[in-house]
Amino acid sequence: MDTTQLLKGVLDVAVLAAIRDEDGYGYDVVRRLRAAGLEDIGDASVYGTLRRLYSAGALTSYVVPSDGGPHRKYYGINAQGRAMLEEQRESWSEFATTMNDLLEPSSSAPQLRKIGEKR
């Protein structure tokens, strides 16, 4: 399955999760996501997502000069970002459970639900 299509839907929550514990600059975040197993994630997708989350008020940002090289732009999560992360984490969890139930072959009588439908 083409995981890049799946990634598009979860980029926000993935990026938020990547800087939940520690601030990071663009490529730093990419590296963390890849280390976590999201090998196919695109640099520009991550940078764009960081920029959008910052615009939405979920992130803070600051510039760190480096010696003899270009400066780095760090992003950190704020309270709003954490709330967003928690909300999306729950959505994902619910969605993942639904998909697992659907895809589980041993289930005798799978009951289909719409995504987001209350149990």
Binding site: Y27, V30, A44, Y47, G48, R51, S66, R72, K73
Partner: protein, 345 residues
């Protein structure tokens, strides 16, 4: 900020900014702030080194992930290519706007229904070009021009109806050919109008040529006159004048004509010359006109100085004399009847 010593990185970052140039500048700065550092670190990290791929695709991905609108037109872009592509996009967008208008669509449908007219006109253009290549006058009907015209019509209409367009290259060839033909349209129009003009002028000349110069008898030109006396003897050196006392010349411009070519019923040609008795070679009213043979004509088509005119014989064998009521003509005519005016009431 863009002044980086890292060549490939700076180049790629500039290209990315260029591809984002339709966005507000502060937006671009926000989006690409720290880009050089990220790229440089990635170059150190990856096996690929400083190969970052396509900067435009990179910029599109950046833009999409940031939730910004897709690339439209590079208004703030610098460089000639950006200006040209921007202008082209403006043109295309503008045209789409115009084309989607309902009235314009109706107008377009109207012109689409006129396509057969264009096919016929195109056939005329093709015909004119081919006829010109064969050296044929376009407005004269001949077997060759008829065939060319028919062929051009069939080719143009079949093209227009979408036949013979199975292969892509044929379609491109037709498009190219159409462009070429449209370029030829002014030339063909000018050629056609001048051909029409000359035909009209010819027709007008033919009409105006009604009164033929010289002497005319029942619409046919009279080239020579043979006079006979009352006894039926042929006369020579007869000078003829009209009611105004002007010479009755056999040619339209006596002073400018040296020789008059005439053909007989058997296809033989003879060359009449004016009487030498009248100075200035204008004696075209002295009948019958003498003639010279073809070998007496010089290279310029005029009689040579050695040419001796020969008397022309009338075709009629003999002319009967007139019935003469007065057997003894008097030398001095005496009027027998004096006309006296009789006043009418």
């Amino acid at each position: 900020m863009t002044t980086s010593t890292l060549g490939p990185v700076a180049g790629f970052a500039d290209a990315v900014r260029h591809a984002l140039a339709d966005l507000p500048p502060d937006e671009v700065d926000e989006l690409t702030d720290g880009l050089e550092a990220d790229l440089a670190e990635r170059a150190d990290d990856a096996d690929a080194g400083a190969d970052f791929g396509d900067p435009v695709a990179y910029a599109d991905e950046l833009r999409a992930a940031a939730g910004l609108r897709p690339r439209t037109r590079a208004r703030t872009a610098s460089g000639l290519d950006a200006t040209v592509t921007g202008a082209w996009r403006d043109l295309v967008d503008g045209w789409r706007g115009v084309a989607s208008n309902r009235q314009v669509r109706r107008l377009g449908a109207f012109f689409v229904s006129l396509r057969p007219l264009w096919w016929v006109f195109r056939a005329w253009v093709i015909y004119s070009i081919v006829a010109a290549l064969f050296g044929q006058p376009t407005l004269r009907l001949s077997p060759l021009t008829f065939l060319i015209g028919l062929g051009a019509l069939v080719v143009s209409v079949q093209w227009g109806r979408g036949r013979w367009q199975a292969r892509a290259w044929v379609r491109y060839a037709v498009i190219g050919f159409n462009v070429l033909l449209v370029l030829c349209v002014p030339i063909v129009l000018i050629a056609t109008s001048s051909a029409v003009n000359s035909e009209v002028a010819n027709a007008a000349n033919a009409e105006q040529a009604g009164p033929i110069g010289g002497i005319v008898d029942n619409g046919k030109p009279v080239s020579n006159i043979f006079a006979y006396d009352a006894n039926g003897n042929p006369l020579s050196g007869v000078q003829l004048f009209d009611q105004d006392g002007k010479p009755l010349s056999a040619v339209s411009s006596p002073s400018a004509t040296r020789v008059s070519e005439v053909g007989d019923d058997l296809g033989r040609t003879s060359y009449l010359v004016p009487s030498l008795s009248v100075p200035g070679r204008i004696g075209w009213n002295v009948y019958p006109l003498d003639h010279v043979s073809a070998r007496d004509l010089g290279d310029n088509g005029l009689p040579t100085s050695h040419a001796v005119p020969v008397a022309t014989r009338p075709r009629a064998a003999s002319i009967p004399g007139l019935a003469q009521p007065a057997p003894t003509p008097t030398a001095t005519p005496t009027p027998t009847v004096t006309p006296t005016p009789t006043p009418r009431r």
